[in-house]
């Protein structure tokens, strides 16, 4: 395999010719290609379209105090080679523009708008000039992720530049919903253009909960940064902390002890379980099936109480440490997990049987909110939503971390892409997760649970990734010379999946929107950061 990767890389270098200025390894799994910014669209399109790389994440960085330039990193994942290729380009501060990749590679849309808002690097030829992260009332010339923007600076509010899709026809009704909603959900403004009951177009305005976590993390010691990373989101807390810890460990060249890896896997699956079971229950609220909602909530509660007994926290916070794990389990906890899961498995099966044999429920879920495979591929959709549309991506299998290469599991894939497929994926994954935990219980190795981290090399980047219940989450980390965070970029599953929701909603009726939205189960806090 080692040899084939080398051959594959040198072949790629030949094909790209003099478009690539230099190529170097960054750790065992990543190759960095430095290109001129004018070559950026060609090289990215080549990697995405010809070589079938997935756009994994994109990071903009203010590196002016290192070498005088801004830098952009487009990271592509090549799952069959278990390798990443990063296209890096430097941007002169005197000309802070770059040619946009988004026209050819639609998944880059949000990333490039984000870089424009937060770093002031303008993507030229980008089809959507509207602000994304910072709302229209933020001054256009203030870019908070630049190093010369002080953390405590208060920005004045200006006349809003927000705009939505204009409709010429009088037959189209505009329905604005949110950002404050009837239920206890997070803030998002949805503007439907509807003809009668049918949705013609949806503008989803997010980033109301942008807290500047990436900026706040800069200059923080790693332990505190881990603590903050864990608090990006409530329900994927463990996935975020694991991804951050993995990024730091990869930077330090540390392999965590096998027992720690197994325990991380165990808790990550427990996180998936309580999320998926709770989500299957919550879907029922989309069509008023109260028995399903209550049973889902009851089983979720059982699992959260298990989390509390085993890990000390219902949402599994505070158990990851850099280089390992903070808690260990004994025979008593093992028995508790096995006993609780066998109960949950039986009860969950009953809930699923009830749900799938309920005509009204099936009627509402089937053929509702279809996300086509073509759209899913173009937007690089991940997680449950991707697998329900026939896109087989699961970072646990594709680029294994923790102890996922030690267990065998099946990744369910459905073709239809409707609400029902997304529910079916969750149901199948619950059973897979329970099977994974059973395997872990049988083969849990003994030994240490922690390896100390050496001093980390400054101004080098590393990534940590994790399949959260919503899909893959990537943390990109660069450490400064004083062992504090220099730049930190979180790309959560929801960030990749939100742009797909308006496409899945199109053509459905307005009352189905809550159901479709729930079936994606996207979290705003992770996305907005």
């Amino acid at each position: 395999m080692e040899k084939t990767i080398k051959q594959w890389l040198s072949r790629m270098k030949q094909q790209l010719g003099n478009k690539v200025r230099s190529m170097e390894q960054n750790g065992a799994q990543e190759t960095v290609m430095l290109v001129e910014k004018t070559e950026l669209p060609d090289v990215c399109y080549f990697l995405w379209h010809e070589k079938k790389g997935r756009l994994f994440t994109m990071v903009g960085n203010d590196e002016r105090d290192i070498h005088g330039f801004f830098a952009l990193y487009y990271v592509f994942s090549f799952d069959s080679f278990r390798h990443f290729i990063t296209v890096k380009t430097l941007i002169d501060p005197l000309d802070p523009t770059f040619p946009s990749v988004s026209v050819q590679l639609p998944a880059a849309n949000w990333y490039e708008r984000e870089v424009k808002d937060l770093l002031g690097l303008r993507p030229q030829g980008h089809p959507d000039p509207r602000p994304l992260i910072l709302h229209g009332d933020w001054p256009e010339d203030l870019h908070p992720l630049r190093k010369d923007f002080p953390l405590d600076r208060h920005a004045p509010r200006v006349q809003s530049r927000e705009s939505f899709m204009p409709y010429d026809s009088e037959d189209v009704t505009e329905i604005p919903v949110g950002p404050i909603h009837a239920g206890i959900i997070e803030p998002g403004h949805f503007r439907f253009g509807a003809v009668g009951d049918t949705i013609l177009h949806l503008d989803a305005r997010l980033f109301f909960t942008h807290r500047g976590l990436e900026k706040a993390n800069e200059g923080m010691p790693l332990e505190k940064a881990l603590f903050l990373a864990e608090r990006i989101c409530g329900v994927c807390a463990l996935s975020h902390s694991t991804a951050f810890a993995q990024a730091a460990e990869r930077l330090g060249g540390v392999t965590i002890p096998p027992r720690a890896a197994y325990l991380r896997t165990l808790f990550l699956e427990l996180e998936r379980l309580y999320n998926h079971i709770g989500d299957v229950g919550n879907i029922c609220a989309g069509f008023g099936f109260a028995v399903g909602v209550s049973q889902g909530a009851r089983l979720k509660e059982t699992l959260q109480q298990l989390n509390e007994r085993v890990a000390g926290h219902r949402y599994l916070r505070g158990i990851i440490r850099l280089g390992g794990i903070r808690i260990d389990i004994t025979e008593r906890e093992k028995e508790d997990i096995v006993r609780t899961l066998s109960y949950v498995k039986k009860e969950f099966q009953e809930l699923v049987d009830l749900l799938f044999s309920h005509d009204i429920a099936m009627n509402r879920m089937a053929t509702t909110g279809v996300l086509s495979l073509e759209h899913a591929n173009q937007l690089e959709v991940v997680g449950v939503a991707a697998r329900a549309s026939g896109r087989s991506v699961d970072i646990r299998r594709d680029q294994p971390y923790a102890a996922y290469d030690q267990v065998s599991f099946h990744v369910p894939v459905y073709e239809v892409g409707d609400v029902l497929s997304r529910v079916r994926i969750r149901v199948d994954e619950v059973l897979e997760s329970i099977a994974i935990i059973e395997q872990l219980m049988h083969s849990l190795p003994s030994g240490d649970t922690f390896t100390p981290l050496p001093p980390l090399p400054p101004y080098r980047s590393a990534m940590g990734w994790c399949e959260s219940p919503r899909g893959e989450t990537v943390h990109w980390l660069m450490v400064g010379p004083d062992q504090t965070v220099y730049r930190y970029r979180v790309r959560s599953a929801t960030y990749s999946n939100w742009p797909a929701v308006p496409l899945a909603v199109k053509g459905n009726i307005v009352p189905d929107f809550p159901l479709i939205n729930k079936s994606f189960e996207l979290c705003y806090a992770c996305c907005d950061r």
Partner: protein, 120 residues
Amino acid sequence: MFDLIKKIWKTKTVTKTDLLTEAPERFRGKPIFVSNECTGCQACITSCPAKAITLVQNDNSSTISLSYANCIFCGICAEMCETNAIQITNEYRLATKTKTELTVTKQATFAKLLTAGKEV
């Protein structure tokens, strides 16, 4: 329909009445000062993410003070403390009649604290 009623009958009402008992052993609740081993190294103070632990320095005595009003029960202080002078318990009943009762203090070992105090 029959299945639904059977299921509801079997699980009874979903709201379960649990007796008010102790929280699980591993539950991270109230941190307490347990021994006189505090060396005044201030590791707990610097590591506390919620700034719930503070150093109160008077003319000739110094105390470490912990406020349960600010504490988020993460347990990092207990992990950092080398002498186990501060420990996490599973106590979750925190209500008090007055605000002042939410703050507990602990006298730190004097000699060591003075040196630590000067560095600050």
